[in-house]
């Protein structure tokens, strides 16, 4: 018997013995420990292999998305160039408006800047009351600043900041019973006060009795509002209540433009602080 054959026989004895022990005593602690160790050694292959393969499968779609994003970025850059002139005009108009307001001693609710924030938490008891966003004092958020949200390509009123933390702020939603905002009907110029009812339907009070209100009329923030800039959409008239002969005003129900339950991001309008020119 040559040396190779002898070595092969020894290997056979060792491997065979180990295999027989594994087969014969599957429930003993040492065999179970060996099995756990073998699993520990071999399991990374399917786990990391599977994840790697998944990433490779997603690679073509990721590349396609990257190319698409690049094309959209170029398109947006071109659009941005086109809006430069418009922006200059708007800036000039804003400055003129500020000059005139200052000359007439009118207070304005013009925002100083915009800040996007993510909704990180909602009131678990009632989603119509308040929510918390991930921007706070450190980001320059202050109490009473208006909060808006995009809906169908437009920005609608969501509420206002009522508490500010270090990196978070609480937003009192317009639908909360404690909320109220001066509003008007742009179609007829009648003014009123929009108040929350704890549901997605708002109530617009104090409309003059002679006001002609139609279902579907748009409701927007009033130019007289001290908190909100004018003409921000709040919602549309969804119902007109019967006139109470004992009251000197009428009330309508307003369907809010922005539904708090669908909010993911909000836009905070930062106000000019004291001393800002």
């Amino acid at each position: 018997m040559n040396r190779d054959r002898r070595v092969a026989n020894y290997y056979l004895l060792v491997f065979g013995f180990v295999s027989i022990v594994l087969l014969s005593l599957p429930l003993t602690s040492r065999v179970r420990a060996f099995r756990a160790f073998a699993s520990y050694l071999y399991d990374p292959l399917p786990y990391y292999g599977g994840r790697g393969l998944l990433k490779m499968r997603e690679l073509p779609s990721d590349v396609a998305r990257l190319i698409d994003a690049d094309a959209r970025s170029r398109q947006m850059e071109a659009e941005l160039k086109e809006t430069a002139l418009l922006r200059t005009e708007v800036e000039a108009l804003r400055r003129e408006s500020e000059r005139l307001s200052h000359a007439l001693s009118l207070s304005t609710a013009a925002p100083e800047g915009l800040l996007w924030a993510h909704v990180v938490e909602r009131d678990p008891q009632n989603w119509q009351r308040s929510l918390i966003v991930d921007a706070g004092e450190q980001e320059g958020v202050a109490v009473n600043e208006p909060v808006l949200a995009p809906h169908a390509g437009r920005l609608g009123v969501v509420g206002r900041i009522t508490e500010v933390g270090r990196h978070t702020a609480k937003v009192l939603l317009l639908s909360d019973e404690l909320s109220a905002v001066a509003a008007y009907l742009p179609a007829s110029q009648w003014e009123g006060l929009v108040q929350g009812q704890g549901s997605s339907r708002l109530k617009m009070n104090y409309l003059p009795v002679e006001a002609k209100v139609r279902i579907g009329d748009e409701v927007a923030t009033s130019p007289t509002s001290a908190t909100f800039p004018p003409d921000l959409p709040i919602g549309t008239v969804s119902r007109a209540f019967e006139r109470d002969p004992f009251l000197a005003f009428q009330t309508v129900e307003v369907a809010a433009l922005v539904h708090p339950g669908a909010l993911k991001e909000v836009l905070i309008l930062r106000r000019k602080s004291e001393g800002t020119p």
């Binding site: 092969a8 290997y11 056979l12 594994l22 087969l23 599957p26 065999v31 073998a38 071999y42 292959l45």
Partner: protein, 156 residues
């Protein structure tokens, strides 16, 4: 260097087996690449290499499976030993003979596993005719390219 090469071959075998059996099955069947590779390595490198690869590849199959932990390791060890010992009497130079050897060993491997179940779990681990015939046939078909790759990997 030899150890790294051996480890690389070992890992490549595991990866190939896992990939094929997970993603490229035909009618739910995949070849037992580790068995074919054990036969190929034992044919070219002898019984010691055949047994070493066979035992540790068999452990992988045992870890993946749920029955008779150790049976695949023992079966592939025996395959590595037997093929390695009688390799001088075998002709594995042509694709046809390689396929024949692998086909025969595959049937023996399937019978061995079923009998191991009978002995150690008291039930004949019969996977059905599809497995008993289909997998050896599959192994038979993939044997020539695997032998070719194994010969290249072993530098022969």
């Amino acid at each position: 260097m030899r150890a790294a090469k051996a480890l690389g071959l070992f890992a490549a075998g595991l990866a190939a087996e896992w990939l094929w059996s997970s993603y490229w099955t035909v009618f739910g069947l995949a070849p037992c690449l580790l068995l074919v590779m054990t036969v190929a390595i034992a044919s070219y490198a002898g019984p010691v290499s055949g047994q070493c690869y066979g035992f540790f590849w068999g452990l992988f199959l045992d870890v993946v499976g749920v029955h008779t932990f150790g049976a695949s390791a023992l079966a592939l060890t025996l395959v590595g030993y037997c093929v390695g010992v009688i390799r001088r009497q075998m002709d594995v130079s042509s694709p046809a003979s390689q396929a024949m050897v692998v086909g025969f060993v595959s049937v023996a491997y399937a019978v061995f596993l079923a009998l191991a179940g009978l002995v150690f779990e008291r039930r004949f681990l019969w996977g059905g005719w599809a497995l008993f015939v289909g997998v050896p046939l599959y192994n038979f078909l993939v044997a020539p390219p695997i032998f070719f790759l194994a010969r290249k990997a072993l530098g022969q």
